[in-house]
């Protein structure tokens, strides 16, 4: 007899009387174990079916169940529970309902609102002596990486009006005006105005759109450096006035006060300001001189000396030093010699 047959016979009720099977079980330990398990199963099932325990008297059982029912409030399904709560706490549910409506209103219902899409610079009343072509001005601006700007020139009588559009920030608009003054020597005041655009979006989108986010690493920086950095960033983001004060108390806790404002000509809008500082460790400091020239970085690859000089002048003009005169010469050994002359009176 093989094991398969043996296991088939083991499933039958009267296998213990099967001699052939008994012979196989004597020589096959695996089937013997199966038989042992089967016998054990039969025994434990028989023992368990014979076991009888005194049942709880019905009267006691009933009182126990009723006591349990009294102690345990009946479990309702979720809808009934909500309805029951609604009856008990109508105000809570009214509040929750309003909150849900407000949330849906703020995130789903679209509204029209205006955003600042960019800035433009207008220079009026340029005389013939200071006039340059629009291509020349656009080329100078492209040096400063303002490649998507468009320059238009219109003539009104003997004077020219310049209109530079597509500038990304107020700072860029001022820079464009400074570049024009630097190139032409024109001393008129350029007018920088924001360009508004009407868009449609939810209230939430509106708030996110208008939020001003500034992230600053404070590692090893003094309070003054931090306040200068915050101020510079705020001005770059289009604020005309940014009063920033950073103070550190003896306990090492930093306090930052920021007051911002837009120019009078700008449209009044609600502002949301978010400041994020990283590595707020405290280190001793040196005073940073206000009138120092910031580091200029210029890529000279493939540029002529004149182009490099024009770029330096443009960048200096952008830093508020429009009267700078730059000379770039290349020596026989290939080294460049750069001379920068700045008229201090013009800076003032």
């Amino acid at each position: 007899m093989d094991c398969r047959k043996a296991k088939q016979r083991l499933s039958k009720a009267d296998w213990s009387a099967d001699r052939e099977l008994a012979e196989h079980l004597r020589v096959c330990p695996t089937c013997a174990r199966t038989a042992e398990a089967e016998k054990m199963l039969e025994t434990v099932l028989q023992a368990a079916s014979d076991e009888t325990y005194p049942a709880t008297p019905p009267a006691i059982l009933r009182s126990e169940v009723l006591a349990r029912a009294a102690a345990q409030p009946r479990k309702e399904n979720i809808v009934r529970q909500i309805l029951a709560q609604l009856r008990v706490r109508p105000r809570l549910f009214a509040g929750l309902g309003l909150a849900v409506i407000a949330f849906l209103f703020a995130t789903l219902v679209p509204f029209s609102y205006t955003i600042t899409a960019g800035y433009e610079t207008m220079i009026h009343g340029v005389d013939e002596e200071h006039a340059i072509t629009s291509e020349h001005l656009a080329e100078a601006l492209s040096v400063l990486n303002y490649e998507n700007v468009s320059v238009s020139v219109s003539r009104s009588g003997p004077e020219y009006d310049y209109h530079i559009t597509g500038l990304p920030s107020r700072d860029a608009a001022r820079e464009a005006g400074a570049v024009f003054s630097s190139l032409t020597g024109f001393d008129g005041i350029p007018e920088c105005v924001p360009v508004y655009e009407m868009v449609s979006g939810s209230l939430y989108a509106q708030v996110v759109e208008k939020a001003t986010r500034i992230e600053i690493d404070t590692e090893g920086k003094t309070d003054e450096q931090i306040s200068n950095e915050i101020r510079a960033r705020l001005l770059a983001q289009g604020y005309s006035r940014a009063d920033v004060s950073v103070t550190t108390d003896p306990g090492g806790e930093r306090r930052i006060d920021v007051q911002v404002g837009r120019e009078a000509g700008d449209k009044e809008t609600e502002e949301v300001l978010e400041l994020k500082l990283r590595n707020t460790s405290d280190i001793s400091f040196d005073v940073h001189p206000d009138d120092s020239i910031e580091k200029l970085e210029i890529d000279t690859e493939g540029k002529t000396d004149e182009q490099i000089a024009a770029e330096i002048e443009a960048k200096l003009a952008a830093q508020g030093k429009p009267g700078a005169h730059v000379t770039v010469t290349t020596g026989p050994d290939g080294k460049k010699n750069i001379e920068v002359t700045i008229n201090k009176e013009e800076i003032r």
């Binding site: 049942a55 709880t56 009933r62 169940v65 009946r74």
Partner: protein, 188 residues
């Protein structure tokens, strides 16, 4: 409601001991079984008004007990009520017939089953329900019930077989470690 309650208890009285025994065997011990029984009765009392045919009371209550048991077993782990040990060992230390050992083996076999299979085995093997009664309870043809019973029994036998192998290996390792025959180790 009181009328309803009285009728409920009247109907239950005829098979209450069997139903209580079923719960104890299904749960594996007396404490959990009584808890399951009372919980099921409480639930059944609330649902009793929805029962259309009183003749179907017994299978209806058993179905309810099985469902309650299944829900307990399938509860997520953070809600499951764990019993330390095997509950109250009936008979306790006074166990001359080795009932406790027998119950332990039975529990080992039943653990290999799903809640539905466990209920089937308890009703058929321990409470002597017929295949026809089980078929009525589950609303399945008798052939299906027979096949399920056979599968459940096979699962139990395999579980016991595995346990026998495990025990043999444990005994061998003990003999290897202490050089003692099984009987002496067992005495220690």
């Amino acid at each position: 409601m009181t009328m309803n309650n009285d009728r409920f208890w009247d109907l239950l009285e005829s098979f209450h001991p069997k139903a209580e025994g079923f719960c104890r065997k299904l749960a594996g011990n007396r404490d959990d079984g009584d808890d399951l029984y009372q919980d099921s009765l409480l639930h059944a009392m609330h649902k009793f008004s929805g029962l259309r045919d009183e003749k179907a009371f017994r299978p209806w209550l058993y179905r309810l007990i099985i469902n309650r048991y299944r829900n307990r077993v399938r509860k997520p782990w953070w809600r499951r009520r764990e019993t330390l040990g095997a509950g109250t060992p009936e008979g306790g230390a006074d166990d001359p017939a080795g009932r406790y050992d027998s119950r332990r083996w039975l529990e080992r076999g039943l653990k290999a089953l799903s809640p539905e299979e466990r209920a089937l085995i308890v009703l058929f093997e321990l409470q002597q329900w017929t295949v026809a009664e089980l078929a009525e309870l589950h609303g399945r043809p008798p052939g299906t019930i027979k096949a399920r019973l056979s599968r459940a029994r096979l699962k139990m036998r395999r579980a016991l077989e595995r346990y026998l192998v495990h025990q043999e290996q444990t005994n061998l390792s003990r003999e290897g470690a202490y050089g003692l025959p099984e009987s002496e180790t067992a005495v220690e």
